[in-house]
């Protein structure tokens, strides 16, 4: 997979490039807006990570220009500005996701992987999601594990659906709040953990292999354990 990083802070850029390479990405890096714009226009990428404040040309202008050419590459905006309005402005400007500095690398990786995946899935219309012996019917809105019906609440259904769509990838708590609950806010307590443990009780408790795992310092992952 190919990623373009447009970031002027050398340390953040190095860290990003190093981390992405370790996660099997091919990474191009541009240190200013104009250079980044030229690279975005001449190459095809699976994902772009764009800092909002850049010398030469600011991040939002780059995204607008890229979108104007019909290029639908997923874009994650990085910014030191964390206000809700800044975020809304960034997403309206054509960004697919927004991450405020400082961010943890796992959060960034989780988000760009989810973006890439969503971009690929957009074409397909699945009606049944499967992870190991866990099965979700999106039309009938039923969940089964090993053929056994599992009764879930509507919100739990959405939570599980999101986890299943991102199976095998780390999903952070903030991502869950944003994508499943659809609110962007900072909870004072890890209220998500309570919902995860309830979901876990339903899908994992009576079965031998746990699917829903906690990743320390990062979030959760739904996967078939080896």
């Amino acid at each position: 997979m190919k990623a373009l990083v447009i970031e002027d802070d050398q340390d953040v850029a190095n860290y990003l490039v190093k981390g992405l390479k370790e996660s099997d990405f091919v990474v191009d890096h541009a240190a200013d807006g104009k250079e980044g714009m030229v690279m975005a226009a001449s190459e095809e990428y699976d994902v772009m990570i764009v800092d909002r404040m850049l010398p030469g040309m600011d991040g939002l202008s780059i995204i607008k220009t890229v979108r104007a050419t019909g290029n639908q590459v997923p874009v994650l905006i990085l910014s030191a500005l964390g206000d809700v309005d800044d975020r809304v402005e960034g997403l309206r400007g054509g960004g697919d996701d927004y991450l405020t500095k400082p961010f943890s690398f796992t959060e960034l990786l989780a988000r760009i992987e989810s973006l890439i995946r969503r971009n690929r899935q957009a074409a397909e219309t699945e009606t049944v999601l499967r992870v190991a012996d866990l099965e979700m019917d999106l039309l009938a809105r039923t969940v089964k594990r090993a053929g056994q019906n599992i009764d879930v609440q509507p919100r739990e259904f959405r939570l599980l659906e999101y986890l299943m769509r991102n199976a095998g990838q780390v999903v952070t708590r903030t991502m869950l709040l944003e994508k499943v609950w659809d609110y962007h806010f900072d909870p004072q307590t890890n209220v998500i953990d309570v919902h995860i443990s309830r979901l876990r009780a339903k899908i994992d408790k009576e079965f031998e292999t746990p699917l829903l795992q906690t990743i320390r310092g990062a979030g959760y992952m739904l996967r078939e354990t080896a």
Partner: protein, 491 residues
Amino acid sequence: MKLLSQLRTSSFQLALLYMVVFATSVFLLLAFIYWRTAGFMAAQTDETIEAEIAGLAEQYRGRGVNGLITIIRERVARDPNAKSIYLLTTDDFLKLAGNIGSWPQNARADSGWINFTLDESVGWMGPQRLARARIFEVQGGLRLLVGRDVDELTNLKRVIEAAINWGMGITLALALLGGFLMSRGTTRRIEVINNTSRRIMNGHLSLRIPTRGTDDDFDQLAENLNRMLDRIVYLMEGIRHVSDSIAHDLRTPLTRLRNQLEHTLMSVDNDEAREQAGRAVAEADQLLSTFNALLRIARLETRGNTADMKSVSLDELVTDACELYEALAEDKEQNFEQDLEPGVLIEGDRDLLFQMVSNLIDNAIKYTPERGTIGVSVRKEGAEAIFEVRDSGIGVPDDEKEQVFQRFYRVGKSRSLPGNGLGLSLVSAVAEIHQGQIILSDTYSDRSPPGLTVTVRMPAFTGVLKRIRAAQAELPAQAPEAGTSESSEAG
């Protein structure tokens, strides 16, 4: 109401004062004119009478009493309609000559000036006319009266008096009207300044007071106020710039610190080292979240309420928050009650409101012991949308209720509980943006612990409702209209 407030303005009162001065001047001027005119006419009458007397005296000196009688008869005969009045009588008021029938009743004195009315008996003069005369005792026991009919003059005087009265009245009316109109012009310009200032205070900092370009005193005032606003905006941008700089300059090294810790966490094999690195990452996250919350509050407080405000359904938002937090309450076996009135709209920022609501519910759950009671309600009271969280927790002592909104403030017993002391500061900043008011009170007045009730009152959003009502009014069916009026009464 509007008229009353107009009358209370200082510019109208100034105009009123000017009106009093002006009316007094006009009154004095008219009084002077009246005094001069009436005085002149009276003097003229007296002079004419004196001249007549002089003529008669000459005749009397030359020809005696008979000559006097003759000349009086001649004069009366020459012009029976003249304004002159003559009467010569004996000592006991028997008429010898003259053009009036009898001596005036009120003039029994021997000599001097008199005013009297002419009787109908004087055929040619018609009823009740005013006259002025001088009376004498002529040598030989005769009495003489020489006068003039001043009825027309009196009428003229009355006309002048009436004109003066009307003139005063019209002057007063015009002055009042003029004062009202003039002050209204001024009041309107002041009103423009007031309205603009109010909107600026509500957060529309980019607004400026309009000027006419005439460079008059109001324009100068407006320009000075505008310059002051520019200065304020400049200073506020300074604050914003500083906080942005802090965000940019301090959060970046913090990122690096956290990322290095994270890298350590991922790369070490030793379980104990991982445990420690994990704790360090959590500590760094806590530090960063405190730092973020501080910056967020600072930014919310300086930005005003111009942000991304949309119509938000408060009851739906609180339903979502309850759904998210109910699980937390259930884990503490707390009784979680919800009373959410549907259709309560406010104008606001959805994410910020959710932050506020969730912070308050989170606090209630955190500070209420196991098996306690939490109550969340949303309702509309008149033009206000109300969000309320009740709990049966430790509560906040009365003397600390004001202080809990300060940054880093923790109520005595809560210091041991997790949290950064910024939750309520953030709540307060969000409420401020939504023109909301936060009231803290005890849930139970007769119980210990008293619990805490937090009530947030925000202006309800009515724009959509108005549109719905307008749409319903256009429908021919009556049912929806009836429904609307009922619901408006209920609200």
